[in-house]
């Protein structure tokens, strides 16, 4: 079995350079690669283009990279939880491309499936369609949207093995599996790393072939953005 294990986040991101395009898994703060983000902040690489559904909050997630002005461009579907993001956007320091969430996910998927483009009805007749090719299939209009190209995909899984196979937990799965398939280099951080052979092949969500580097992360905060509860009565 090919061994994909690296020592930690610092080694995993060692060759990420200024100007690279990164995919970062997660939905809100759920299922984000916390260890790799911390390492990117420490390395302080600049002028990054980040493809991620959201942009973190002021003091966590991609928000930490925004604070250091490491991000040149965000490609996201919803970015409403971050005051520093708003400041940089309004001052023109940060370029933002907002795209529909399903289009974002499916452009990742297309890259991972080796398809150059997809056709989706999302955004037809809106400003999202500006400059894009429209094709009609069976009487309905669709926009042609290209597969993403990313130098690195950085994902978070629950369990992984030394061969790079990944299992996600609950809704922290979100964008992680499609991004894992889409990076030229894919880095996976996991909460629990086991030897190849210890995971049931039937239960694996991302086959190890898509993963180039894997490590067991440490000190996961797993912050909750909207803590909503009910009381027992």
């Amino acid at each position: 079995m090919i061994n994909k294990v690296v020592s930690g986040a610092i080694e995993a991101i060692r060759d990420i350079e200024d100007g690279d395009t990164l995919m970062l898994g997660g939905f809100g703060l759920c299922g984000i690669p916390e260890n790799c983000i911390a390492a990117l902040v420490k390395k302080n690489v600049k002028n990054l283009t980040c493809i991620s559904n959201n942009a973190g909050v002021d003091d966590f997630g991609i928000g930490l990279m925004l604070q250091q002005r490491q991000v040149k461009k965000m490609i996201s579907s919803y970015v409403g939880e971050n005051a520093e993001f708003e400041r940089q956007l309004l001052s023109g320091e940060l370029d933002v491309e907002l795209i529909p969430q399903g289009t974002l996910a499916t452009r990742c998927m297309a890259a991972g499936y080796g398809m150059p483009a997809i056709f989706t009805p999302a955004g037809v007749g809106t400003e999202v369609a500006e400059g894009k090719e429209v094709r009609n299939f069976n009487g309905k209009d669709y926009l042609m949207e290209y597969a993403f190209e990313a130098d690195f995909a950085i994902v978070k899984a629950w369990k992984g093995d030394t061969a790079g196979n990944l299992i996600y937990r609950s809704t922290s799965r979100n964008f992680n599996p499609v991004m894992a398939m889409a990076g030229k280099v894919t880095i996976a951080e996991v909460e629990i790393l086991v030897e190849a052979g210890e995971l049931d092949p039937d239960q694996i969500h991302t086959p190890g072939v898509f993963v180039h580097r894997i490590f067991q992360g440490a000190d996961y905060e797993k912050r909750i953005e909207q803590r909503t509860v009910r009381t027992k009565n």
Partner: protein, 219 residues
């Protein structure tokens, strides 16, 4: 006139046994509280969950289990989780029977605007454009007029669009209205105590209204 919970209650009556339903943020979320007893309905959350349950009990929150509003939630028996591409696959291929979402404006030909106000901070469309472009049945839950007193039911939307020719039904604090395929708002029901004239005055798009339009029953 209905309050937000009244709007949610009225919309809940549109949900049928066996429906898979996607609820947007705001009033649509409240609809989950009023789903009629005795019917089986599965709630979808577009980040990647079918079978969404209520909020967890205090102390039982799971950071890995959230809905599309990033709120901690629970799962119900028979639920499943999946990635976000697959989630929008089931939306695009019309496996979701009903989508309920909020709006800033709806036009008489069924266009909807609900994601962007020029000059204000734009947060993004999230999954709204995907949902309205593909859903087979969409109900809009919203206030009939905005805070400035202007109608949100218009001949043509003034704000940037989320989707075109897609809205079929609107429930507001004043009325239930269908958007006709040929254009125009057809008044279906009045909120308790609200007159047809009052609704007519609050609707800037073309309104078709029978003077005998019935009052709605929400309880």
């Amino acid at each position: 006139m209905l309050d937000k919970n009244g709007i949610a209650k009225r919309i809940a009556k549109e949900i049928k046994d066996g429906y898979y339903v996607n609820l947007g943020i705001g009033i649509p979320t409240l609809v989950a509280n009023y789903i009629p007893e005795g019917i089986n309905v599965v709630l979808q959350s577009e980040n990647g969950l079918l079978g969404m349950g209520p909020f967890p009990f205090e102390g039982e929150e799971d950071a890995d289990l959230i809905n599309a509003g990033k709120q901690t939630i629970t799962t119900l028996p028979g639920s499943s989780v999946f990635d976000s591409a697959l989630s929008f696959g089931m939306i695009r291929s019309q496996k979701i029977d009903l989508t309920i979402l909020g709006a800033m404006e709806v036009s008489e030909n069924g266009d909807i605007a609900n994601w962007k106000i020029p000059g204000k901070m734009v947060k993004g469309m999230g999954g709204a454009m995907d949902l309205v472009a593909s859903a087979k049945n969409i109900i809009v839950a919203m206030q009939h007029v905005n805070k400035a007193g202007e109608s949100k039911l218009l001949p043509k939307c003034t704000l940037p669009l989320t989707g075109v020719h897609c809205i079929k039904k609107i429930v507001t604090e004043l009325a239930v209205l269908d958007v006709l395929p040929e254009g125009g708002f057809q008044l279906i029901e009045r909120a308790p105590g609200v007159s047809v004239d009052y609704i007519r005055n609050a609707t800037s798009g073309r309104l078709l209204a029978d003077d005998n339009t019935p009052e709605m029953h929400i309880d």
